[in-house]
């Protein structure tokens, strides 16, 4: 019986070996989460590929309409002219395009822009992305550090006037959406109080300066990024403060803090290594989630401040229905979110020994 059923499904030994190797590899935690990350990125990329093409209008229609209204020529003439200058065939099958795009993707080739042929999407992303990473990174870093310090202060002085006023303030800061903060900054600080010239702060640096490691350029970079950064800080700070406060209050009730005090440890040591470190643990996971959230909402903020980051680029691409550019940006944003989560997953064990995966010490 048994031997017959075994013979019924002959399996080549080579095939078996591969399956075994895959099984073994998947048992490794790092490999497993990495494979999951890649699959997530592929799924999101596929979805965006289809969705951007389902948006009303296509790159050619958008431009034809512009030319028609401006020059008053016939539709066919306009179509021919636009189609000639575009790297786009509206009649190509979506499946073919998808497969082409996917194979290119495997070679890290994001294709060329539809509306300006010859421009590599990846080059454009490389040009715009660093500015966004800089602004969002600075914003999150500042608000995270400030939030942890202020949140702990609130917990240590709980029920004091300071605690109550900071709680109110942080609820307000979180409650108002970030684009409203952006507009408020421009209207109140820039226009009504005239603290800065909004027009001068367009772009990412003063174009009359030579990029490089010189004081004038660095200063200009910070000046141009200051408002987006301030917006990110204001919009996310309240959340960190409230989370850190409740987390710290929980830790303050822990036995080990009480014992640490009975052990006569120095206050600084207790605040940093016993209270602060344990209270901040859950916030690190939230930080990686915030990276994705802030990157996504950064599109609007960059548009408000005319900050030339990836969000600004994406906005331009959407306006002219530049599919390849949109796909590229969405892909990069997705990767940023997925990989920051992956990074958190793999590094959390360094912060909290309790979740260290067995086998790696």
């Amino acid at each position: 019986m048994e031997s017959r059923s075994l013979n019924a499904r002959p399996v080549t030994p080579g095939y078996n070996k591969i399956i075994d190797a895959i099984r073994k590899a998947l048992k490794n935690y790092t490999v497993r989460v990495f494979v999951q990350a890649i699959l997530t990125i592929w799924a999101v990329a596929t979805l965006t590929f289809l969705l951007v093409r389902e948006m009303p209008g296509n790159p050619i229609d958008v431009l034809i309409e512009q030319i028609l209204t401006q020059e008053g020529i016939s539709y066919q003439e306009a179509y021919d002219r636009v189609a000639a200058s575009f790297n786009f065939d509206p009649n190509a099958s979506v499946l073919d395009l998808y497969l082409d795009w996917l194979t290119d993707l495997l070679r890290f080739d994001l294709g060329t822009s539809i509306t300006s042929p010859g421009t590599e999407v990846i080059d454009e992303i490389a040009r715009f992305l660093p500015w966004t990473v800089f602004a969002v990174g600075m914003g999150l870093l500042i608000s995270f550090v400030l939030g942890i310090i202020l949140g702990m202060t609130m917990a240590y002085y709980r029920n004091s006037f300071l605690d109550h006023s900071l709680s109110l303030l942080s609820s307000f800061m979180t409650g108002v959406p970030n684009y409203i903060w952006g507009l408020l900054i421009i209207i109140v600080l820039g226009i009504q109080l005239n603290l800065f010239n909004v027009g001068e702060l367009r772009g990412t640096y003063d174009i009359s300066l030579v990029p490089g490691l010189n004081a004038a350029f660095v200063l200009s970079v910070f000046k141009h990024a200051a408002l987006p950064i301030a917006t990110y800080v204001i919009a996310t700070l309240g959340g960190w403060m409230l989370n850190m406060k409740s987390s710290t209050m929980g830790v303050l009730n822990e036995d080990y803090v009480n014992v640490a005090e009975a052990r006569g440890l120095k206050d600084n040591r207790i605040i940093t290594s016993y209270v602060g470190r344990n209270a901040a643990l859950p916030l690190f996971t939230q930080l990686t989630i915030a990276v994705g959230f802030v990157l996504g909402s950064g599109v609007v903020i960059e548009e408000i401040f005319v900050y030339w980051g990836i969000g600004h680029y994406l906005f331009q691409a959407i306006t002219v229905r530049d599919y390849t550019s949109m796909q590229g940006v969405f892909l990069i944003l997705t990767m940023a979110v997925v990989f920051s989560n992956l990074f958190a997953d793999l590094t959390y064990g360094l912060l909290d020994p309790r979740v260290r995966v067995s086998g790696e010490r």
Binding site: Y256, G264, P353
Partner: protein, 339 residues
Amino acid sequence: MSQILPPDVVLKVDDLSIVYRTDRGDVKATVDVSFELKSGEAMALIGESGSGKTTISLALIRKLPKNAVVTSGEIFYQRNDSVQDVLKLSNRQLREFRWNECAMVFQGAQNAFNPVLKIRKQFEDTAQSHGWTDKAAIRERALSLLQLVRLDPERVYEAYPHELSGGMKQRILLALSVLLSPQVVILDEPTTALDILTQRAIIDVLNDMQRQLNFSIIFISHDLSLAAEMADHVATVYAGQIVELGGVNDIFYHSLHPYTQGLLTSVPTLEHTQDLLQSIPGSPPNLIAPPDGCKFHPRCAFADDACKKDSPPLTVDVGAHLAACWHKDRLIESRKASV
């Protein structure tokens, strides 16, 4: 210092009273408590839950909750002929006093260690906060203490708390408590929440340690057998007062207070059969509005009008055996009659 203590006394508590301020009124958790602890001696505080044992011990290292107020009393601590009033220490002095002079092993060591730091780091933190700088010296001392509590020193020293069992953590905490050679170690329910075998191991370890390091112990327990085994002196605490204080034999064989007597008859012994076990009727008094007179009178079989009116003083009858009861003679008679 004005206070002069006999050279062998390390700790002297005088008329200590503590209340907890609450919304419903003041909880009188400790009332006029006085006792002395001699060098190398072990003293047990026994009593029901909520009787104020832990409050007394927390006051010794000034680790009372924020709503507690010491309304009267003094706590003197002596080392090398110099006496300090613990209640008058500045914050800085207090920090140095804690653990260096008086260490406390809290109830339930399960969460006594910072989960994200290795045991090694927590030993180092403790020593470094008290002026030690040489990590090798800390390590040497720590390993010898871990050896003393019968653990595998090298392995445990480099472990994280979550990698250790409850009994191991309890023993590590014991080792940590004597790291700085304090004269007094307070143990709050050192064996509760541990299984019988681990309890046994902890008691043996404690005896070993005390023999080798010669510190004084104050321990809190409702486990009378543990008290009988470990203590030189026993204080019975009821409603925040010490109602009886004496040598371990005096308390267990010649108790002079009905409450102590009640505690003793509520645990099984080898000599008596099970049906002689009795619990103490009633429940501990409300410490916001305790009864007048002797606080034990509502639950006491010997109570009469005198007990309802006046609180009996803690007085000496024989030797150093103190008890606060108006009817010690009747208690002794009744015990004779029952045997």
